[in-house]
């Protein structure tokens, strides 16, 4: 891949003239883009400083930002970085970067560079002139060879008289485009098609700047809507969103992993051969951040051994063979009226019921409910921003009352004043229903959020709804907020109202390769294979199965894994065959990272083992939402590299 660069230093005469009357100069040199990211050297900057030095100019400072044109990040910071004694700013950047600086700083700004004329260079690495964006694509008529960029005169109606030996009169190195078009069309037997074409006339009004400026405005707003960045993958909710919620048959064999949560795994409290009943505790927490595990069916423990696990490969599990009776454990008793329960009692019920975050992360809920700092707002996450999944959507429709009850319990347990149920605007029926149901509660409201991934991530959700920014390394409680999934709230309701621990959940089984997608209430421990089979199995070949959604879900090599507390979906989707190539600094990852990090550096630093660099680029702030990997034009497995970096940084401590 060619090494593309966007700007060149003005010649030294011009620069000398510019510098003549200036001193106390602050220098901003953009790190360039669409350039293979191999080195941090900036020869233009070196040359410029050399010249300024020879003219005995004082340089008050030099900064080298990435993507200077990213105004959201540039503005604000720039003025802080410029020392007081600076009298002017020289910018080494393309026209976009220079304009950004001129707009953001209060000092006279000088362009030390010219943008190189790469008009028409578009595509992966801008190494080839390929599309002039004329808004009236002619490629069908010309066999896929562009007459606008490949012909020096942009002729539309055939070859001019200037071609010599098939080469263009303007540059003899260049093939005559119309010669190539002629050959291509004649090889395809399509010459007549071209000959019979109407006279082609260019329409220079077709590039409708009004449409463009409105689009630009809209897209800029939407990218910053609620929080910086994020992505909008195809939703694909259609496969299962209109399928009814069905109670799935209890499993004959339930495999219940001891680790279904963040933190220490539970330790089994039963032995092989023991008879257990529904709701009976079979594993107890081993640390503060841990959670108990309960039997989801009644029957006999037939094994306690390592079994396949959706995200951990193998994990210790208690295997129960059903007696088909579903006998309830004696501990499963309603806890009475919420009004009669104290905050401590609610937290204890939640802890004993083994409730953990059901959005996927599995953080023990009882820990969340006892924040170290006071909280005023509880956010219930009903966004379900992952594509394909419809489990939370179905839950809201079927268990709206329970969700609200759960929220009330959380409000009481934490002493927060306000509860907000956040639902994305792609679920209008759920929004309407919950708005109706919450109308009677003064302290509970529904917030409709414009669909954008990763809306459901705690920090994004908080920013979106409250405008508060969780500090780097901080927790939601640091800004007075606790975030919980709607399914978790429903589980809290069950634990209080029915006395039932967390032994079942709603799962979407969906994707283009599931014969009959559906939504199921399944017992924890139900095998994924049985759910997939119930949906008619997997169709087609070259299929990728994931536990969870396509963005953050885990690729499954076997269906012999159980449904767990955090299993919101099983998806079977098209596999994608790609190959990693070098980063070209296209900047897309920087544009979409909701944590406002610069993932391109992670790719380079991980390959170099530069863990200090990763730490300095705040790798620990990454929430692994995979937006960067999704958008990466070089198909770099960024999350893998980020995880390696995080592990290394943790060890550094």
């Amino acid at each position: 891949m060619e090494n593309y660069t966007k700007y060149a230093l003005k010649d030294s005469d011009a620069l000398t003239q510019l510098l003549r009357e200036q001193d106390q100069i602050f220098v901003i040199a953009c790190n360039k883009c669409f350039k293979e990211y191999t080195s941090d050297k900036n020869t233009e900057l070196e040359k410029f400083l050399e010249l300024a030095n020879s003219l005995e100019k004082t340089i008050t400072g030099v900064i080298r930002p990435d993507f200077l044109c990213n105004k959201t990040k540039a503005e604000g910071k720039l003025n802080q970085l410029i020392p007081q004694d600076s009298r002017c700013v020289f910018v080494l950047g393309c026209g976009l970067g220079i304009q950004t600086v001129a707009d953001c700083v209060n000092l006279p700004v000088y362009a030390a560079t010219d943008s190189l004329n790469y008009t028409g260079h578009h595509g992966m690495a801008l190494t080839k002139k390929a599309c002039d964006a004329c808004a009236q694509c002619y490629l069908t008529a010309t066999g896929g060879i562009c007459p606008i960029v490949d012909c020096s005169k942009s002729l539309l109606n055939g070859q001019c008289g200037g071609a010599k030996n098939g080469k263009c009169e303007v540059s003899p190195d260049k093939d005559c485009a119309w010669e190539k078009i002629q050959q291509r069309l004649s090889a395809q037997g399509r010459l007549n098609e071209f000959l019979n074409l109407n006279v082609q006339l260019r329409d220079y009004s077709k590039v409708n700047y009004k449409v463009i400026s409105e689009y630009v405005k809209a897209i800029r707003e939407s990218r910053l809507d609620g929080y910086y960045g994020g992505v909008h993958p195809s939703e694909h909710k259609e496969f299962s969103e209109h399928q009814p919620l069905v109670r799935f048959a209890d499993p004959q064999i339930a495999v219940i992993p001891m680790s279904q949560h963040l933190g220490a795994p539970a330790s089994p409290t039963v032995q092989v051969g023991d008879y257990v009943t529904v709701g009976q505790k079979i594993g107890e927490p081993t640390a503060f951040i841990s959670a108990p595990v309960h039997a989801s069916i009644s029957g006999t423990v037939i094994a306690i051994e390592d079994r396949p696990h959706a995200s951990r490969g193998q994990c210790l599990a208690v295997v129960i063979e059903s007696d088909g009776k579903n006998t309830l454990h004696e501990s499963v008793q309603p806890h009475g009226d919420l009004n009669d329960l104290t905050a401590e009692q609610i937290v204890a019920i939640v802890r004993d019921a083994g409730i953990v975050g059901m959005g996927g992360a599995g953080f023990p809920t009882a820990v969340k409910l006892t924040p170290k700092t006071p909280v005023d707002t509880i956010l219930l996450n009903g966004c379900e921003c992952e594509p394909y999944l419809t489990a939370d959507h179905k839950l809201l429709l079927a268990y709206g009352d329970e969700v609200i009850f759960g929220l009330q319990a959380i409000l009481k347990a934490t002493g927060a004043q306000k509860g907000v149920i956040v639902i994305e605007d792609n679920k209008p029926d759920a929004v309407e229903l919950l708005q109706q149901k919450t109308a009677q509660y003064e302290n509970i409201e529904v917030c409709v959020a414009k669909t954008k991934y990763p809306q459901g991530a705690e920090k994004m959700l908080i920013k979106r709804v409250t405008g508060r920014q969780v500090p780097s390394g901080g927790l939601p409680a640091d800004v007075g907020v606790v975030v919980s999934n709607v399914a978790t709230a429903k589980a809290i309701s069950d634990a209080i109202q029915l006395g039932m621990p967390l032994i079942e959940r709603i799962v979407s089984v969906t994707g283009e390769h599931i014969a009959n997608p559906g939504n199921f209430i399944a017992k924890i421990g139900t095998s994924v294979q049985s759910l997939v089979d119930a949906c008619g199995g997997i169709t087609g070949s070259d299929v990728t199965v994931k536990a969870g959604g396509p963005m953050m879900g885990f690729v499954q090599s076997t269906l012999d894994t159980p449904i767990m507390k955090g299993s919101n979906g099983i998806i079977a989707v098209d596999s994608d065959a790609t190959q990693e190539v070098a980063c070209i600094q296209c900047g897309r990852c920087v544009d979409v990272c909701p944590m406002e990090l610069k993932p391109l550096h992670f790719a380079k630093f991980a390959d170099e083992g530069n863990w200090a660099g990763m730490k300095q680029q705040s790798v620990m702030d990454c929430i692994e939402c995979r937006c960067c990997e999704y958008i990466c034009s070089s198909k770099i497995p960024l999350i893998k590299k980020i995880k390696a970096g995080k592990a290394a940084v943790r060890e550094m401590k």
Partner: protein, 292 residues
């Protein structure tokens, strides 16, 4: 005759504007000009005015010249690149057209061929510069011209009543620097604004002709207020046009207003340029009323 010679003599220079037809018969244009405009100094011939395609300015200039009038060739940068503009100028010089007015030109999207490619290879300033180069016997590419170099009276335009008067003055200064020898202005309806502008423009030391567009009706006045750049017609004037519709229709009100503006501004400018927009027949009357 170059009209700059008259400015130099201190003469109050009167010009008017005509538009070539959308067709090949220029007889009406010539007849009207002969009948109503033979008394004035020179006649501007527009160059596809408002980006509406018409007969070219140069041939229409030749037709007027053959009829005994002094034409001013208007030249815009919208439709021709630097090669075409220079060759047009050489052709004009050969045909004895030696008065020109250099303009950037309206955008193509404003006219009747919005799909056309807007050229703007040069603009009014660089066009004036180009003319100066040709006058020195060199083209823009630095190549020598054969034989005698052309010589033009080089005009340019300015909008004295624009809301962006500072930007207009800056541009005027650049035009002077590039070689403009006289200016014609956009239509003026507010003498006080014009006088204020002239106070500032005095420093350039170039003659300025007051621009006049005859207001035909209250409707036209409102339309211009809403749509035409650099023009603002005060409400009193619109009321005056609306007061007696018959009088306005007969052109009497418009002629009165135009003459009044000229009278008021005459001490501050070096000429007047009337854009009659089809009412060429009213020009003699305006001048009579204005005492010219």
């Amino acid at each position: 005759m170059r009209i700059t010679e008259l400015f130099d003599k201190g003469q109050f220079v009167v010009t008017a504007e005509v538009g070539p037809p959308k067709g090949i018969d220029a007889s009406h244009l010539v007849d009207e000009a002969k009948t109503y405009l033979s008394g004035i100094t020179a006649v501007n011939v527009t160059d596809n005015q408002s980006s509406v395609m018409r007969m070219g300015s140069l041939p229409a200039c030749v037709a007027l010249k053959n009829a005994g009038l002094t034409p001013i060739l208007q030249l815009t940068c919208r439709d021709r690149n630097r090669i075409a503009l220079q060759s047009e100028l050489l052709g004009a010089a050969m045909l004895g057209i030696d008065n020109i007015l250099c303009l950037t030109g309206d955008h193509t999207k404003m006219g009747d061929h919005p799909q056309a490619k807007p050229v703007f290879d040069l603009d009014s300033v660089s066009l004036l510069h180009t003319v100066c180069q040709l006058e020195k016997g060199v083209d823009l590419g630095g190549n020598a011209l054969l034989g005698e170099a052309p010589k033009f009276a080089k005009g340019a335009v300015v909008s004295p009543c624009s809301e962006s008067v500072d930007a207009q003055l800056a541009k005027m200064e650049r035009k002077v620097m590039a070689g403009a020898e006289y200016f014609q202005t956009q239509a003026v309806y507010e003498p006080e604004k014009f006088i204020e502008f002239m106070e500032k423009a005095k420093q350039f030391g170039k003659p300025v002709q007051l621009g006049i567009v005859i207001p035909k009706s209250a409707g036209m006045a409102k339309f211009m207020n809403n749509n035409v750049a650099g023009i603002h017609i005060p409400q009193e004037m619109i009321d005056e046009l609306a007061a007696d519709k018959e009088k306005a229709k007969a052109g009497i009100t418009g002629v009165e207003i135009a003459a009044r503006i000229i009278k008021e501004c005459k001490p501050y400018c070096q000429g007047v340029h009337i854009m009659a927009l089809g009412w060429e027949s009213k020009v003699p009357e305006i001048l009579k009323l204005a005492g010219i």
